[in-house]
Symmetry: C2
Subunit: 270 residues, 2 copies
């Protein structure tokens, strides 16, 4: 009897097999084409991050309840677990003046110490992101374009997604104000899909950060102002769970148009 | 000017670009063919591991100086950073009786809180492993076969490797005894290659663990004895660094036989 990879992991932590990985590799290729056509870099970031980057980006104070830190022998180290893939991108642009908008895609294993473990609520998961850096109008238009593209793509995958304004889970009482402002300004939108009967999770998130990261990392536009940034993020395991829920666990039996949209029907010669 | 992905990371932590990822994806495909032909599962494991698995496997006491733990708000959690990919495999076989030898390949981001950061000494790195579970003779013969195969493969890649008995960096005074015994019994062999002028690092390691993991996880052979296990491990970033050192940073200019051996010359149609 073949062991079940999903059986032995800690809550919110998944081991995956070859069939799942084939789909996820195809998803990443499709997302790069769809959402990062103008990217000058396609990065793969590690699961750990310089703690000072998380501090400067404000993650440590805004989301202390979610941040996993790396310790050794009970003592803190200089590393945290990567909370979102895009935190590896901003330091690359530190101190730069952007002559034109820049775009970078990045894939990383991310970590959040979630308190619950309902289906799709993972602590360790992969995130594909594309980050846009530029002026305010450019970032806003880019974000809206990517939200449209991703919505159509999920439809093509047979995952009719609910599109809604959202907020990040900022911590504590000041966090509630930040969350309200984020939602009121329509800075964050999510595309949600069912990952199980009655369990709907955000699969896609698009965000306009305004000058938050530009100011934190000294990134400017040609006019000397802090750059604005926007990003799109796709939770790869959540997308996989949504595909399984919609089309069943055996990808060879998924509808042809879904397999086509993922490039699963292409062939390689050696 | 395109930002340099390697520039902004913490010591021993690498962000990689598309060119590097293309090589590493080819390496994993090649390694699965070469070293895991009989595997019933090809797994991809997350960068975090149930801490109790590391405890039961003896890692926490044998390598406390290398083990990274996940904390939140200064308090320990139930997770550690994956110290080696194979720790995700043994729990899958917990309590089983093996009717025949079993083989599983696994790929994971691993973490070790190394004290130094010379070239190739990473804290966060990817490891490809194949694990064999069976009788003592089977595991020993399998390990020696894989050591030969990997030695020939590295030669084909233009990386003439030094083959030498080795030991794990067990901690403290009792650790020195364990290390001596491991070396005297020739349980661990490494294939080392230059990753920079005068810097040689182990790229491949093959190990016979005897009944260590079989006893820890209650895995038995048909005769009721604790199963023996063996594994091979390949450090993917180190292999990449060795390829860069031998053939230069631009893979399109690598010798054709090297690109052939990695399958980089194959083509895909969509």
């Amino acid at each position: 009897m073949t062991p079940d990879p999903a059986a032995a992991s800690a809550p919110g932590v998944l081991v995956t097999g070859a069939a799942e990985e084939e789909v996820l590799a195809a998803v990443v290729v499709a997302l790069r084409r769809l959402c990062a056509g103008g990217a000058e870099l396609h990065l793969r970031a590690p699961p750990v991050l310089d703690a000072s980057v998380a501090d400067r980006a404000g993650y440590s104070t805004s989301f202390p309840h979610l941040l996993g830190a790396v310790s050794r022998g009970g003592a803190a180290t200089d590393l945290v677990l990567t909370p979102a893939a895009c935190y590896h991108v901003y330091p690359l642009f530190e101190g730069r003046v952007l002559a034109a908008p820049a775009e970078v895609s990045v894939l990383a294993d991310c970590h959040r110490q979630e308190a619950t473990t309902e289906r799709g609520r993972l602590r360790s998961f992969r995130m594909f992101e594309t980050v846009r850096l530029g002026g305010a109008e450019d970032c806003l238009a880019w974000r809206d374009d990517r939200l449209d593209r991703l919505g159509h793509w999920m439809e093509a995958l047979g995952l009719p997604a609910e599109r809604r304004p959202a907020n990040d889970p900022f911590w504590g009482r000041p966090g509630r104000l930040l969350a309200s402002a984020q939602r009121a300004d329509r800075l964050k939108w999510e595309l949600s899909a069912d990952v199980a009967d009655g369990v709907r999770q955000a699969v896609v998130s698009v965000n306009h950060h305004k000058e938050h990261f530009g100011a934190a990392f000294g990134i400017r536009t040609a006019d000397g102002e802090p750059a604005h940034t926007a990003c799109l993020g796709v939770g790869l395991e959540r997308l996989l769970l949504a595909l399984h829920h919609a089309h069943g666990p055996t990808q060879e039996r998924w509808p042809t148009h879904v397999r086509d949209a993922l490039g699963l029907t292409r062939s390689c010669t050696n």
